[in-house]
């Protein structure tokens, strides 16, 4: 009986993905967006909570200029000092954007439009906005609202919800 109950629990599908984006390097932003979009494509609900530096991904003036991190990113396979050279981050970013275009991965602004159209809810963190003295009019028009952490958790209720921090 216990085994049967455990199997039943294991077979329960994911119903909702609650993603928290706290960084605005291109690699993290795309990981978050692809997971959110992928959820919608599978018929799973998804929401993104943009907090701390993650807010840059929904700031109209900043979202087009996000970069790949070349410093402190071991996957770049280059010495940290080299990654810090002028122009290195721009070069790595340009190379990555080229590869992404080939795979039909949209640029950040278009991706946000796709997410919003697909029903992904986009939320900004109230505390982080206060900390950066950020006004709502600086954020994208597709934003669904500004939430506290408590509000966000309240939205996570229900069976089959997963919360993921990126």
């Amino acid at each position: 009986m216990a085994a049967e109950a455990a199997q039943k629990a294991a077979d329960k599908p994911v119903k909702k993905m609650m993603l928290i984006l706290s960084k605005a390097t291109l690699d993290n932003v795309y990981a978050c967006f692809i997971l959110a979009n992928g959820a919608r494509m599978e018929g799973i609900e998804s929401e993104i909570f943009f907090t701390f530096f993650g807010l840059e991904a929904i700031q109209k003036e900043k979202l087009k200029n996000l970069h790949v991190a070349t410093v402190g990113n071991p996957a770049m396979h280059m010495p940290t000092m080299l990654g810090g050279l002028p122009g290195m981050e721009a070069l790595a970013t340009k190379m990555m954007k080229n590869e992404m275009e080939k795979l039909d991965i949209p640029p950040v602004d278009e991706f946000l439009e796709i997410l919003s159209a697909s029903g992904t809810k986009l939320w900004a963190c109230k505390l982080a906005m206060d900390m950066f003295h950020l006004e709502k009019n600086k954020l994208i028009d597709d934003l669904d609202g500004v939430l506290t952490v408590g509000d966000f958790y309240a939205r996570a209720k229900g069976d089959g919800t997963h919360v993921l921090f990126i």
């Binding site: 919608r40 494509m41 991965i105 949209p106 278009e110 796709i114 697909s118």
Partner: protein, 102 residues
């Protein structure tokens, strides 16, 4: 394996996608849609025709391409085929399940 749609027996894989497009007919698609809980309208068929055309031209399908197709926008696409639009519409169209993450 075999499955019967609209009174016709067709070959499908274990996820329910047709393995031989020549077995697809509008009636098969219609019945498949019904089993997915979808009532087909002209707009649905417009999308299905577009998907089949893309498949014939061997263009890999992504949600972004659908949005730029001029046939349907992304919001409408989700409204027409809820519960995984690209997956469900491809199944009804009788073409393979898309492999892209986008």
């Amino acid at each position: 394996m075999e499955q019967v749609f609209a009174g016709v027996s067709v070959q499908v894989n274990d996820e329910g996608y047709l393995t031989d497009f020549s077995q697809w007919t509008r009636e098969v698609g219609e019945d498949m849609a019904q089993k997915e809980g979808i009532t087909m309208t002209d707009k649905h068929w417009e999308v299905i025709n577009y998907l089949q055309e893309q498949e014939r031209n061997e263009v890999p399908l992504t949600i972004r391409k659908i949005g730029k197709s001029g046939v349907v926008n992304i919001k409408e696409f989700y409204a027409l085929f809820p519960n995984g639009p690209l997956k469900v519409s491809s199944k009804i169209a009788g073409i393979p399940k898309p492999v892209s993450c986008i």
